[in-house]
């Protein structure tokens, strides 16, 4: 057990026939946040989260009966919901006598929480559930999946069944207790570190783990078989936020399916993390608790917090990117504009950046007509300082984006020998530099924020289609493709996806603005006309690319060649590079 830090006040509260060790932090005049731990933890699992919350809230924790410094009644009946609820009520009464508390539960603490908000709604202002389902909901969810045994339903039910192996094991008499007493605690701590990335620290796993583990088995025996056999009809009126770790080894993320029927005021916060998310991501968990409490109490939220709350909310008309912030560069026309609109149509809040402010503003105007609020900025992506400013502005005014689309680019065609150093600088500054700045600045924000995200870089079919006509352009786009692949490998562990989109011939204004080097102005104009007509004839619009970009983000696709000729080139570049080399010698300029 942790020696209580100086700011933590500990005392004992009399529960239902037990003494409960209660720990308080922060100003009692502030809203009370009550953190309930799971099995086989103690209140100390919350140390980091509690410390983060203590500045803004009155934070209360306690050791559940059977754990830590609280009493350990014997006999499984003493661990039934009736007793647990009486304990919880006693702690709430003792620490927040005149106010409703904001309940937060992890694992078994969350299972208790669902029971509490369903049976004692008047005591709670909000509930945040982490990795512990309502047993009533879980039972109904499993039955629904088994009575409608579609392959998907069966797969999900079996997956949860596999995750619940220990529940069955805990029904075995005596054996679990013996194992805990015989020294399961040490391998458990090791497994926690290896499997979940939870480093042992003072207080967690607790020194009392062998006893906690053995006593807590009563929770499973007293409550699970009965409740799973005959689930009750529940209705939760309290605003509920469910933090859903998508890599949870014990609770399937799919268990949230249909939860809105149980709790109409529901917000979901998926996070790419394991079961012990309060230990692995305390900052994120604390921030989400703060945002949920802030929303419920009507506290002042920053623009980013308000957006996060909108994003989490589950409503019947919810769109897939509701409340997501999507930054698109080169959003004034073509693929950039179409992408901004495609995300806006799906509920996203769009930041449209372009060198041409009027064009970006028009995109924002159109995006606003389709979805959430949209803003326009003038940015030269090739200018490192300007990009720094832009990234900071976005962070301060809108928060960390969920999706960044590095789209801005310029075309350049002609013989290599005709490209001047200035031509090279320009094409590399914009096409490669712009992507590098966008990735660098926004990936840093996403990593720091710890909630994942997605970066889309617009490469080109030219990245894998050598051509004597496009040396600079193709080189810049090939660099973007490889940069995306490298970055994807680096950021995968942080839940940040990276996709490279490789469009073929798409009818946009790029043919109108491309530079054809080594040509007289008239010849250049002719080339532009000819390219524009050819691209228009090809007739593949930017909307098609935008749809592919949305799909790439949703499915976290690594490389997406768009248009049939791009897909063909992609395959040929793998199976027959020689053919691609031969084709590269044709002058298509």
């Amino acid at each position: 057990m942790t020696p209580a830090a100086p700011s933590v006040r500990s005392r004992t509260v009399r529960g239902d026939g037990v003494d409960l060790a209660v720990y308080e932090q922060g100003d009692p005049a502030r809203p009370t946040v009550l953190l309930v731990h799971g099995y086989p933890d103690t209140h100390a699992v919350w140390d980091e989260v509690a410390a983060e919350l203590a500045g803004r809230f009155h934070v209360v924790r306690y050791d559940v009966r059977g754990a830590g410094a609280s009493s350990r009644p014997s006999g499984r009946r003493r661990y039934a919901f009736d007793y647990l609820m009486a304990d919880l009520a006693a702690v709430a009464d003792a620490t927040a006598p005149d106010g409703r508390v904001h309940l937060v539960g992890h694992d078994w603490g969350s299972i208790q929480g669902w029971e509490a908000v369903a049976t004692m709604a008047e005591r709670f202002a909000s509930f945040t559930s982490i990795s512990g389902p309502s047993l009533d909901h879980a039972a109904r969810w499993t039955r629904r999946n088994l009575t409608r045994p579609t392959p998907g339903n069966l797969r999900r039910a079996v997956a949860q069944g596999v995750r619940s192996w220990y529940i069955a094991f805990f029904q075995t008499p005596l054996l679990p207790e013996l194992l805990w007493r015989a020294g399961l605690a040490r391998p458990f701590a090791r497994a926690l570190e290896a499997g979940e990335g939870v480093r042992p620290r003072d207080g967690h796993p607790a020194r009392t783990l062998p006893r906690d583990g053995a006593a807590g088995v009563g929770l499973y025996r007293a409550n699970m078989p009965a409740r799973l056999r005959s689930p009750r009809d529940r209705h939760v009126a309290v605003p509920v936020q469910v933090i859903v770790p998508t890599r949870d080894l014990f609770v399937s993320p799919h268990l949230v399916g249909g939860l809105a029927g149980l709790a109409p005021d529901l917000s979901l916060r998926p996070i790419a993390a394991g079961h012990w998310v309060p230990r692995t991501h305390p900052g994120t968990v604390a921030r989400w608790i703060g945002e949920h409490v802030g929303r419920v109490t009507g506290g002042a939220l920053t623009a980013a917090e308000a957006r996060a709350v909108r994003r989490a909310r589950v409503t019947p008309d919810r769109r897939p990117f509701q409340g997501s912030l999507v930054v698109v560069t080169g959003a004034g026309s073509g693929i950039g504009r179409a992408t901004a609109l495609a995300f806006a149509e799906r509920g996203a809040e769009v930041v449209a950046a372009d060198l041409d402010l009027a064009a970006a503003e028009r995109t924002a105007e159109l995006a606003g007509a389709l979805g959430g609020p949209a803003r326009a900025y003038r940015v030269d992506v090739g200018d490192a300082a300007a990009m720094e400013d832009f990234a900071k502005t976005v962070l301060h005014e809108h928060g960390v984006p969920e999706v960044v689309v590095n789209n801005a680019g310029i075309g350049m065609a002609g013989s290599f020998l005709d490209h001047s150093p200035e031509d090279w600088k320009r094409v590399l500054d914009v096409n490669l530099g712009g992507v590098i700045h966008g990735c660098r600045l926004f990936a840093a924000q996403m990593a720091e924020h710890g909630q994942g995200g997605h970066i889309v870089n617009i490469s080109s079919a030219a990245a894998f289609t050598p051509s004597r006509t496009l040396p600079a352009y193709a080189a810049s786009k090939a660099a973007v493709l490889m940069l995306s692949e490298c970055l994807r490998a680096e950021l995968a562990g942080q839940g940040i996806g990276v996709s490279a989109i490789c469009p073929g011939i798409v009818n946009t204004a790029i043919t109108r603005t491309s530079r054809f080097v080594g040509r007289t102005p008239e010849k250049q104009e002719q080339n532009r006309d000819r390219a524009s007509r050819a691209y228009a004839l090809r007739g593949y619009g930017p909307e098609g690319v935008a749809e592919q970009i949305v799909t790439a983000v949703r499915r976290n696709r690594p490389v997406v060649p768009v248009t049939p000729e791009a897909r063909l080139g992609y395959v040929l570049s793998k199976v027959s590079p020689g053919l691609m080399r031969a084709l590269a010698r044709f002058d298509i300029g």
């Binding site: 504009r337 609109l341 149509e345 007509a369 389709l370």
Partner: protein, 282 residues
Amino acid sequence: MSNKVALARVDRAAELERFREIQRLSYACAEAVAATLEPGVTEREACRRMRKWLLARGVDDWLHTPFAWFGDRSAFTGFRVPTQFLPSGATLEEGMPYILDMAPVKDGHSADIGYGGVLGENRAWTRVDTDLAEYRTLILDLVRERRTFADVYAEVDALIARHGYSSRHAKYPGRVIGHQVGVISSRLPKRVGFPFGVRFLQTIGRELVTERVAGRSPLWNGTRHSDHPPTPGLWAVEPHLGFRGVGVKFEELLVVTEDDAFWLDDDLPHVRRWADRKEAQA
């Protein structure tokens, strides 16, 4: 019968008044039928209502029978073959845009109108409809400058690109933004041939031939056949904008004289709607 008689005599006020009457009647029909549209009504049902309303008021032939396009069909989403323009069983839902398009003939005088609306609220529709007002001004200004029809067409396309919309009139047969209308007189029966009136087809066919001889076309599009200054006469002009499943258009008669042009009528539902919106914003 000479060409001049078959088409409208735009220098005769009385004749223009006849056209104005039938155009007003058509718009009255559009407004009356639009007021009856409710969730669940099909395009076919809407077209039936338009036909019935107009026939009860003396309409005796059609340039084409009424069209109605609901939802993303108003932007011709996924249209590949001409039969998809015909009224379908698509139903109208809350928040959906719709377009009613009719071209009745009464005593030989015809109108051809398009009326865009939305059932309830749709912000995207409001955006597009607000911008559509610019096209009415742009087209009139350019025609007054005697720019060639092909030029006007290209300028409209450029504005569509700046706005971030797509040209939906490019989906019409011949990619036309407009076509000539006039007095329909023929010995052919007043029959409808899927969905164009037989007499209209005869007139437009004859005009295609006679105008081609003069280096002009009764159809107004972006091709070289339209690369001529505005032809005097009555032109049904129908810019049609598309934006992600929302289509909005107007269609009304433009009077082109030897040296000037004007809209046959400025007191029309969409013109009033734009004025009201502008006033509300001011």
